[in-house]
């Protein structure tokens, strides 16, 4: 009988725990944004699973459960106001273009969920705008399109909550709780999410004194608890296939993702920049950790 420092997990078991860890965030999201969230997530999962089964012409590949997680992540990234074919298109392209064309699980270069999400984000941008019943825009949109607001006015804006974005701060908190669950089980290495969070908080802190009467970049707390920060830090950036497993590359990767997301939020075209930050970091992964590329000579 040998003991190991890490509890024994099967790949399928890991995916079950990830799904469990996502449930609080899903629940809170449904509480604030309406139960259509469930429908979006369900469609995403079913489309992902079906694509994987059809694409590989077998149900054997479903055993690992990764298709379910990919679908669930896509569903959670999409606003509940989308037309119901959007999650379908996103999931199908995530599995087909993000995973199967590379040769299946473990061979993909990019995070499949992010491939699918980026595709619909670029193709149907208007579908992906969060329409909040109260304000018509989320805090991140306000941040980007602010004209005359100072930090103080910004904080008083109806789209803002206690520390982060209204409603979204609670979802972020729920994802943080789920993420910590995975960290405690040691399914997720603690260094990666920490680096992502620091990657977004540190630039925010640096830019904080730069605000003047007319412009602000938002406080570190705001950035940590707005948009998809926690979801990305704990669930998307930590996809084992597309993230590094050595310590130093993890720090660089995480910091890169966080800070690129911050700059896209503040200066880019899109409200939240995590999706492109992740895809960009994925593209750099072979430089960070050469062994992850399949050697073929």
């Amino acid at each position: 009988m040998a003991v190991t420092d890490r509890p024994k997990f099967q790949t399928t078991g890991i995916m079950v725990h990830v799904v469990i860890a996502l449930l609080p965030g899903l629940g809170v999201g449904a509480w604030f944004l309406g139960h259509k969230v469930f429908l979006v997530v369900l469609v995403s999962i079913l489309a992902a699973v079906a694509t994987e089964a059809i694409g590989t012409r077998s149900v054997q590949t479903l055993r690992d459960g990764t298709a379910v997680v990919t679908g669930m992540l896509i569903g959670l990234c999409l606003p509940p106001s989308v037309a119901i074919w959007v999650p379908f298109v996103a999931s199908v392209s995530a599995i087909a273009l993000g995973k199967l064309v590379f040769g299946g699980l473990g061979k993909n270069l990019f995070n499949p969920a992010m491939v699918g999400y980026a595709l619909v984000l670029i193709a149907f941008p208007m579908q992906l705008v969060y329409l909040d019943g109260l304000t018509g825009a989320t805090a991140l949109d306000v941040l980007k399109h602010q004209e005359t607001e100072s930090l103080q006015q910004l904080i008083n804006h109806p789209a803002f909550g206690l520390v982060g974005a209204k409603h979204f701060e609670w979802m972020n908190l729920a994802f943080l709780v789920g993420g910590l669950y995975l960290v405690l089980l040691r399914i997720v290495p603690w260094l990666l999410p920490l680096s992502v969070l620091l990657g977004i908080a540190v630039p925010a802190l640096v830019f904080l004194p730069l605000y003047d009467a007319t412009y602000s970049f938002g406080s570190p707390w705001f950035h940590l608890f707005a948009g998809g920060t926690m979801l990305t830090a704990f669930f998307i950036a930590t996809d084992p296939v597309t993230s590094p497993s050595a310590k130093l590359p993890q720090i660089i990767y995480g910091f890169f993702v966080g800070s690129v997301a911050f700059f896209i939020r503040c200066f880019g075209t899109w409200a939240d920049g995590f999706v492109f930050a992740i895809l960009l970091a994925n593209a750099f992964l072979p430089l960070l950790e050469p062994k992850k590329v399949a050697l073929d000579n």
Partner: protein, 351 residues
């Protein structure tokens, strides 16, 4: 493993000379039962030449899902201690250790120890089970890589080996051993066909599921096998690059990279250092969430490398031979040239 000689007479080990005892151990053909299979008598006599002569009874069970050591210590602690004392007597050992990961054994053993004997509990991690690591933990002595611990005067013997030693001295040949078969540990006759021990529809492994090998044709149980298990790796999923195998390895082998290299079905001489460092402990196999049998891949790569080295050394030797021959021929030509000139000069003189 040939059948032991049944006509042993018991020896009174407290009076017998070390030479007699050693001879009996050699006669009984006892080999390391922890898996290595190295002849025990040879190992003892190697150690004997090098002070300080410290014996360690290794009861650390690191193989996953195996309980053979624990059951042996529960049933036959006295015999194991006797075996230890016999070996200590042969070596005139200054100190002996019993190390185990079973707390119950410690309590029982503590009551019946001599002054120069210590019993230690260690956590059953993969790190703690290996010979060099054990020596370092218990005595602080660091055995250099590429050096046989016996040359430093340290002898680590598996508890089953010590049990076999005690039995041989008592005149009883070793005909069975404790084997864990699917969570159940029982005495099984040596030389039983392995396929008949565990009936299952899944393929089996001789040894635990992590360090064992697939059975060979008509393979029989040998004294070194501590378990017969079902092979989990037949249900392997794709590698998800989590890096847990690398993290688990107590010897810092980049297992995942070796796996990628092994999948190319080609030798890779750059990996030789890492392959040498691996001591087949199986920690990587236990860690992998996708049930990939990394050790199989490591072994396959090692085998391919061995063949490649062999080929290279043959080629080098052939090259050397050809070079030497050319050299020889060249010097022959020069020699015959000079001879001819000399001859002609002499003829010239005569004319």
């Amino acid at each position: 493993m040939s059948l032991p000689n049944p006509s042993f007479a018991p020896i009174d080990w407290e009076r017998a000379t070390p030479a007699t005892l050693l001879e009996r151990i050699a006669e009984a053909k006892i080999v390391g039962m922890g898996g290595a299979g190295f002849p025990t008598a040879e190992k003892i006599s190697l150690t004997r030449k090098h002070p300080p002569n410290i014996v360690i009874a290794n009861g650390m069970e690191t193989d996953p899902d195996v309980n053979a050591d624990r059951v042996l210590l529960e049933q036959h602690l006295n015999e194991v201690l006797t075996g230890l004392r016999i070996v200590a007597r042969i070596l005139s050992a200054v100190h002996s250790y019993v190390v185990t990961s079973h707390k119950k054994t410690i309590q029982v053993a503590q009551g019946c120890l001599n002054d120069n004997e210590t019993v230690r509990y260690l956590k059953p991690t993969f790190q703690n089970g290996a010979e060099r690591e054990l020596i370092q933990i218990l005595t602080g002595h660091v055995v250099k890589d590429n050096r046989f611990p016996a040359f430093d005067g340290y002898l680590v013997l598996n508890v089953h080996t010590l049990f076999a030693v005690a039995e041989a001295i008592a005149g009883k040949p070793l005909t069975k051993r404790l084997v864990t078969v699917h969570d159940e540990t029982r005495w099984i006759d040596i030389a039983t066909p392995v396929e008949s021990i565990l009936e299952s529809s899944d393929p089996i492994r001789v040894g635990c599921y992590a360090t064992g090998h697939r059975p060979r044709v008509n393979e029989v149980l040998t004294a070194t096998v501590n378990a017969i298990s079902t092979d989990k790796s037949v249900h392997a999923l794709p590698c998800i690059h989590c890096g847990w195998c690398d993290e688990a390895c107590p010897r810092d082998v980049p297992v995942e990279s070796l796996f990628v290299m092994a999948e190319q079905l080609k030798p890779n001489l750059d990996a030789q250092d890492a392959l040498n460092r691996c001591n087949d402990c199986g920690a990587c196999v236990v860690a992998c969430p996708s049930n990939i049998h990394l050790l199989d891949h490591v072994r396959a790569l090692r085998q391919r490398n061995d063949i490649e080295w062999e080929r290279i050394s043959r080629a080098t030797q052939a090259r050397l031979r050809v070079d030497a021959r050319e050299q020889r021929m060249r010097s022959d030509v020069i020699r015959s040239d000079t001879k001819r000139t000399e001859r002609m000069q002499q003829q010239h003189k005569w004319q």
